[in-house]
């Protein structure tokens, strides 16, 4: 694939216009905001930085990379999926990963991406979960996106999802949102410069967001699923 063609593929999948279902989730931001713990742009940036460093880089990325490297071996991908799900303890974050992954899988099924229909059948009939990072890794590979680009796409999607949620919650405006996305860039690049962890070493630690997501389960006034 020529470089400009690869860039166009990456642009298509990074675009928030792509109907991947990412707008229903705040990944813990809404409840932290509700608990008065995230109230301004600086706090949103800190929250996203923590998500990138302590959840995405050390946990989501290894699983995405493992699914990418599984090269369409759906049995192996289902195993990776199972371990990921055992590592996400707050129910809403687990369900968010499954719903967002399911939406991405479904659109790729309809686009006839290789393996998407078969994996969707495994999710429907054989107890596979279809968690977001795992689905991203495997469908993006099937679309011809290389491993490093797939990881960058996933970090970008998380950043856009979180700042998008922050805008809709009325914490920040569009300019601050872009400034936060720019501030994440060196953080994400520094992570991508390091090799991805093996999933046997994957870890995550974002207790404030975990606790907020747990508390969100009993909150009735909400915009987001987590």
């Amino acid at each position: 694939m020529r470089d400009d063609a690869a860039l166009l593929v990456a642009l298509q999948h990074a675009d928030s216009f792509f109907p991947g279902g990412g707008t229903a989730f705040s990944w813990g931001l809404e409840p932290l905001h509700g608990d008065g713990r995230v109230a301004d742009a600086a706090a949103v940036e800190r929250f996203l930085g923590t998500q990138i460093e302590r959840r995405w880089a050390s946990c989501d990325r290894p699983f995405l990379v493992a699914a990418h490297r599984a090269a369409g071996d759906l049995g192996r991908i289902a195993e990776i999926d199972r371990v990921y799900m055992a590592m996400v303890l707050p129910r809403e974050l687990r369900e968010g990963a499954v719903r967002a992954g399911g939406a991405l899988l479904e659109i790729h099924r309809r686009l006839a991406t290789a393996g998407a229909a078969d994996y969707r059948a495994l999710v429907r009939d054989a107890g596979a979960s279809g968690a977001l990072p795992v689905v991203q890794g495997f469908v993006w590979r099937a679309c011809g996106i290389e491993e490093a680009a797939a990881a960058a796409l996933s970090a970008h999607a998380l950043s856009v999802g979180v700042v998008g949620a922050a805008i809709r919650l009325g914490i920040i405006g569009h300019v601050a949102a872009q400034a936060i996305i720019m501030a994440m860039r060196p953080l994400i690049a520094a992570q991508l410069a390091e090799p991805a962890l093996d999933i046997r070493e994957a870890h995550s630690f974002a207790p404030a967001a975990d606790i907020a997501a747990m508390r969100h389960e009993t909150q009735t006034a909400r915009l987001f699923a987590n």
Partner: protein, 264 residues
């Protein structure tokens, strides 16, 4: 190893301890489920030091019941370059019950520590497992530990139920990402409790809501394994209150009686 005697009481059927461990005499605590044994595991070392490699292995046989704890927090002392580690293997037989609630690790400045807990559950086994740490500078300053890694892995019949793995390196806050306010973090896993899960979870949440100095949440685990509790606490007292509240509530829901806090 804890085994159920014909009269229903749990007794220590086999034990082995070498330095620095000391296994205290089993006790019966009033208010506990019939036959439950309480055991304190003590260390005579004055804490964990650089290059310490400790290992514990605990088996609770079918239908036996044990509450295993420590007498006090474990200090993890300052280190130069090395690390200290502890590996805990727990297994609970069918219908058995284990409560593994050690006091928190107190991480001194420049301490590095790895804690690894693996729990194997047989069918109908129940367990409550706790893991917690606290950052503390004995000189009253703000110096922090250098590393803390923890893994809690729970399997039932060869199936992975949960894997909680964290790794903190060179933290800039006592609990990374939680702000300067919180000095302690704890996790509690309540596993295999029979009956009305939603009600137990609701009760645990109500009990936790009353804990001052903490930011606490509880949620159902994957595969209907039970639930997890996460605790951020301003100090050791708040951490202990939240842990006691969740434990007490889970016990009440499972057995109909609240437990008495263990003497420390």
């Amino acid at each position: 190893m804890a085994t159920r005697a014909p009269d229903g009481r749990t007794y220590l059927s086999r034990q082995y301890a070498s330095y620095p461990y000391h296994i205290c005499r089993p006790q019966i605590v009033e208010g506990d489920p019939a036959g439950m044994m309480t055991l304190y595991l003590q260390s005579c070392a004055g804490g964990m030091f650089e290059h310490d490699r400790l290992a514990e292995s605990v088996r609770v046989d079918a239908r036996a019941a044990m509450h295993l704890t420590t007498q006090a927090s474990t200090i993890v002392h300052s280190m130069t370059e090395g690390t200290a580690s502890q590996t805990v293997e727990l297994s609970v037989g069918s219908g058995g019950c284990l409560e593994y609630l050690p006091d928190p690790f107190i991480l001194f400045p420049a301490a590095r520590f790895e804690n690894r807990i693996r729990l194997l559950l047989e069918p109908d086994a129940t367990a409550i497992v706790g893991e917690a740490f606290l950052s503390h500078d004995p000189r009253g300053g703000k110096a922090l530990y250098r590393g803390y890694a923890s893994e809690v892995r729970v399997e039932r019949d060869g199936e992975l139920l949960l894997l909680d793995r964290m790794a903190i390196e060179d933290p800039s806050e006592p609990v990374p990402g939680a702000g300067e306010r919180y000095r302690a973090h704890g996790s509690l896993f309540i596993l295999g409790m029979p009956g009305a899960e939603a009600e137990i979870l609701g009760a645990v949440r109500t009990a936790l809501a009353g804990v001052a100095g903490g930011y606490v949440g509880a949620s159902a685990l994957p595969r209907a394994a039970g639930f997890s509790v996460r605790i951020l606490a301003e100090d050791a007292w708040a951490l202990r209150q939240a842990t006691l509240a969740a434990w007490s509530c889970a016990r009440l829901a499972a057995t109909g009686r609240s437990p008495h806090p263990r003497r420390k």
